[in-house]
């Protein structure tokens, strides 16, 4: 080992750096070092303005919806009472804390409690939208579903305004997009519904992709009998009707978030298998795979280090579209009534209400625009990702 270095190079010191313009050791301080190919992909993605902005808008909406409790909540963010500060959004206080009579949880929407707090020089700071997805509207001037407050005429409001001794519609509980037929605020329900849909879609996509990629990788890499048996199994599996399984399971268990996720996972992992399998079948005969085998590298390492990055290009191209279809899955189930249990915030349920309450167009329109904008953003992002991974653009 030592004699070979001395044979050619007279002295060990490295050649001067000046003749090596582009050779830079990877920056150790950066969190993630991107390979040049990935850097070019990132450039391509950023160059697609529509997709790039769509990503930021979507991320902003998603992050905002993750903090739904801070935006739409029937518990105040903060209460100042008798010189002390209380945070009902994080902690449940009893009514007696604020000078009430009962040992029950304080209901801050109760005029009696509000009066108690005001008397002790207190102040209630509400969230921007002072309703949660399951907060009933009080004192509605119209039967539910109730119009957006800004559409109400003074005449409609008159009886309730007089009864409560207020000055006009404006002083009533304000609902930007009205309420649904249960008396729940539509904006709050959209916010929580968006969150649950996107989370459901993301989890479904990630878990099913991991399973799908793993299954496809094993089939493609080993081929032969494993491949043959797996392929036949998948053919049979995909012919099982998903919706019936859902109905049967739902009759035994409650349809919770995770039960639904589990059932849909049973069937959705197959989507990427064919793609990844084909990539591995193609890739396992590349010369650099042969070279790795000649070095004695383990199968698992070859699959992870050499083949998976190849298959990931195709996977990443499909992924955004799988996300958008997964997001729609929950909405569709809710719309059909096979989704989350009644009362949960959900976009599909809102659309269903819009369908059965044609006289209340704010329901249908709110649902439609939310779903349409959400899917458009995802598709724009998806297109940009697909173009960024396009090998003709990357290498051309």
């Amino acid at each position: 080992m030592d004699d070979r270095t001395s044979l050619k190079e007279p002295a060990l010191p490295a050649p001067s750096r000046s003749d090596l313009p582009a050779a830079e050791p990877p920056a150790a301080k950066k969190w993630i070092t991107l390979s040049p190919i990935n850097q070019r992909r990132l450039q391509n993605f950023k160059a697609n303005r529509r997709g790039y902005y769509a990503l930021w808008v979507f991320l902003a909406l998603f992050v905002a919806s993750l903090g739904s409790e801070l935006i739409a909540n029937d518990q105040p963010l903060m209460v100042r009472y008798d010189g002390g500060y209380y945070f009902p959004i994080f902690k449940t206080y009893t009514e007696t804390t604020f000078g009430g009579e009962f040992e029950t949880a304080a209901d801050y929407r109760d005029p009696y409690l509000q009066k108690q707090i005001a008397e002790k020089d207190g102040r209630i700071t509400w969230a921007p939208i002072p309703y949660s997805y399951n907060t009933h509207k009080l004192d509605s001037p119209t039967p539910f579903p109730s119009k957006p407050t800004w559409l109400l005429t003074e005449k409609e409001c008159e009886p309730i305004v007089q009864k409560k001794g207020l000055t006009g519609c404006r002083d009533l509980e304000y609902n930007w997009l009205g309420t649904d037929d249960q008396g729940f605020d539509v904006v709050a329900r959209l916010l929580y519904g968006f969150r649950v849909s996107v989370l459901f879609g993301l989890i479904l996509t990630i878990v099913s992709s991991v399973i799908g990629v793993a299954a496809g990788a094993v089939q493609g890499y080993f081929g032969g009998w494993i491949d043959l048996l797996f392929q036949r199994f998948i053919e049979i599996w995909t012919s099982v009707p998903e919706l019936y399984v859902l109905l049967i399971v739902a009759s035994v268990f409650d349809r919770t978030f995770f039960i639904l996720l589990g059932i849909l996972l049973l069937f959705s992992w197959v989507r990427l298998v064919g793609l990844v399998r084909a990539e591995f079948l193609r890739g396992r005969n590349f010369e650099y795979i042969q070279a790795a085998r000649a070095l004695g590298v383990r199968n698992r390492t070859i699959m992870f280090r050499h083949l998976l990055p190849n298959a990931m290009v195709a996977t990443m191209t499909f992924m955004p579209f799988i996300i958008s279809s997964s997001v729609m899955t929950l909405t569709a189930l809710d719309f059909l009534g096979f989704g989350l249990p009644a009362g949960s915030a959900s976009l599909g349920e809102l659309l269903k209400q819009g369908k059965s309450n044609i006289q209340a167009p704010w329901l249908g329109m709110a649902g439609f625009f939310t779903v349409a904008i959400m899917l458009s953003l995802l598709i724009f992002i998806g297109e940009a990702v697909r173009d960024a991974f396009d090998p003709r653009k990357t290498f051309g």
């Binding site: 080992m1 044979l7 050779a23 050791p25 990877p26 040049p36 190919i37 000649a294």
Partner: protein, 547 residues
């Protein structure tokens, strides 16, 4: 041949430049070149890949991807008309009628879904309006002309049913269909075996004389130029650096680059034969048979005998050259010896029987046996830096090395193959073909193996680079007393390295012996034909080699 310059002039290229626009940047592929082509004359454009020779040919046909490509300067006058100024309608008439082109890869130039008859008939119908019996007679005439045996029986064949040489013959028949004045041949024999190459070159020469065509021949192979061309233009980086009659350029080259090219032939200086040295690798009656399965139950009905009973032995410090046409089983033999594909028959490596060992059990031996592949673009993972590529074997075989030790070995290996150690953080796409091949060699030698299989390591490289890689391999062999199994169809490179030679055909060994004896005195007809085709571009009598 050169009589009256003005009347005989067919093609005049003056100050031609080609620029490509890509991602807002414009790069000049061809830089103000000029050359002439007279009737019946052959002009050869030679140069390395990327020198702009193919682009020049394609601009004569106006086949470049316009408007991404453009001509900042120059004219191309064909029979007095400026091709560059023509409308697409006019150029279409010239194309395929007066000027035709044949490409390198005959498989992709023919439509795989159409029969031979249909492909040729299309051209006849388009340009000559021939159809029916008339067309069929002309097709038969053309196929006879290009030497396709049993032309009537071949009419209904599809491209995949023909051999590479026959496909190229069909391509030539299509190019000749309209009796063009100018035939452009863009590396027409590069994808073919040496024996077939000799046949195709002979055919082109015969046809040219018979029809009085002019030919613009593009190649990187100086042997072909000398054999075929009247005038040669040497291209480098988009410029014609030297230009003149073949005899003059070959005997008295003026430009230093031409001199380099002519001197690039790898010099024969093989490692000496070591009849008493230890046998590093011995394979006895090695067979690789691929089963042919048919029917519902996938019963084995026969075998493709890729390697059929080969016995070889390589001694320490020697280079065993394995030569043969494509399909002769030489690459399969290399893979079987390294136990990368399953085979029958004994394989003994440094005294240990390795045939039949499982992948896990093979691992300790892999440190001592390595391989370098043909395609330097395919053999390096595009997603790993050079350092990662070279390190991989160290992780497997020396997992206990510290990071610093590993780095030292990578640096050492890069120095050994003549690359800057600082380049180890770069990715393969930042290197040229020759540099990539050096990286692939570094990956093999970093483990300090005893035995290296070289599977056509120079075939994908330009002439000058080929000579450098051969030099490097020889140097490494001397310094570390490596043992090579050198697989190649390029006999000139084999002659430079091999001390012992095995000639293979149809999976069997035709002839073997010390390289010097074999080259001086080949015994079998097949070996003689192979040598004649490789060294003198001469065809063999019928029946000796594949057509």
């Amino acid at each position: 041949m050169i009589m009256d310059a003005t009347t005989n002039m067919l093609l005049e290229v003056r100050d031609l430049s080609v620029a490509f626009r890509q991602g807002g940047r414009e790069s000049l592929a061809v830089d103000r070149i000029s050359f002439d082509l007279r009737k019946g004359e052959t002009v050869a454009l030679v140069g390395e890949s990327g020198s702009g020779k193919s682009v020049t040919a394609l601009s004569v046909m106006k086949l470049l991807p316009y408007p991404a490509a453009r001509h900042p300067s120059g004219t191309i006058r064909f029979n007095g008309q400026d091709l560059l100024a023509m409308t697409p309608e006019q150029i279409r008439h010239v194309r395929g009628n007066d000027i035709t082109i044949i490409f390198q890869e005959p498989m992709t130039s023919l439509n795989p879904l159409h029969t031979i008859e249909k492909q040729i008939a299309e051209i006849l119908l388009l340009h000559k309006g021939l159809a029916g019996l008339e067309a069929r007679n002309r097709i038969l005439e053309l196929l006879t002309q290009v030497g396709i045996p049993d032309p009537a029986g071949r009419l209904q064949s599809y491209p995949h049913q023909l051999s590479g040489g026959q496909r190229q013959r069909v391509m030539i028949a299509m190019a000749l269909a309209n009796e063009p004045d100018l035939l452009i041949a863009d590396e027409p024999t590069t994808a073919l075996d040496v024996t077939v190459q000799a046949q195709i070159l002979k055919l082109l020469k015969d046809i040219q004389v018979r029809l009085g065509m002019a030919m613009l021949f593009i190649t990187h192979d100086l042997g072909i130029v000398r054999k075929l061309a009247d005038t040669v233009c040497v291209m480098k980086d988009g410029k014609i650096v030297e230009h003149g009659p073949v005899e003059r350029v070959f005997t008295a080259p003026e430009h230093p680059y031409t001199r380099d090219l002519l001197a690039a032939e790898p010099k024969p200086d093989p490692a000496p034969s070591q009849p008493d040295a230890q046998v590093v690798l011995k394979a006895d009656d090695l067979k690789v048979w691929f089963p042919i399965r048919r029917g519902l139950l996938r019963r084995t009905v026969g075998h493709i005998k890729a390697v059929d009973g080969v016995t070889i032995a390589v001694r320490k410090g020697e280079t065993l050259g394995v030569v043969g046409e494509s399909g002769s089983g030489k690459t399969t033999l290399g893979l079987a010896i390294l136990r990368l594909i399953s085979s029958q028959g004994a394989i003994v490596f440094l005294g240990n029987t390795i045939a039949g060992l499982k992948f896990e059990a093979m691992r300790p031996f892999r440190r001592n046996m390595q391989i370098v592949f043909q395609d330097p673009y395919g053999s390096l993972s595009p997603r790993m830096s050079v350092s990662d590529v070279i390190e991989e074997g160290l992780w497997v075989h020396h997992p206990k090395l510290s990071a610093a030790e590993r780095e030292a070995r990578v640096v050492g290996a890069l120095r050994d193959v003549g690359l800057e150690p600082e380049w180890r953080f770069r990715y393969p796409h930042e290197f040229s073909g020759g540099q990539r091949q050096r990286v692939a060699i570094a990956r093999a030698v970093v483990l300090e193996p005893t035995f290296v299989v070289l599977d056509e390591p120079t075939s994908a490289l330009d002439m000058l680079i080929q000579a450098q890689i051969v030099e490097l391999l020889r140097d490494l062999q001397k310094r570390r007393s490596l043992t090579y199994l050198f697989i190649s169809h390029d006999l000139r490179v084999v002659a430079a390295l091999a001390s012992h030679l095995v000639v293979m055909r149809y999976g069997k060994v035709v002839e073997e012996g010390p390289a010097s004896d074999l080259f001086a005195n080949p015994k079998s007809d097949y070996t003689r034909a192979l040598f004649a085709a490789a060294f003198n571009l001469e065809t063999a009598p019928e029946g000796v080699v594949a057509q």
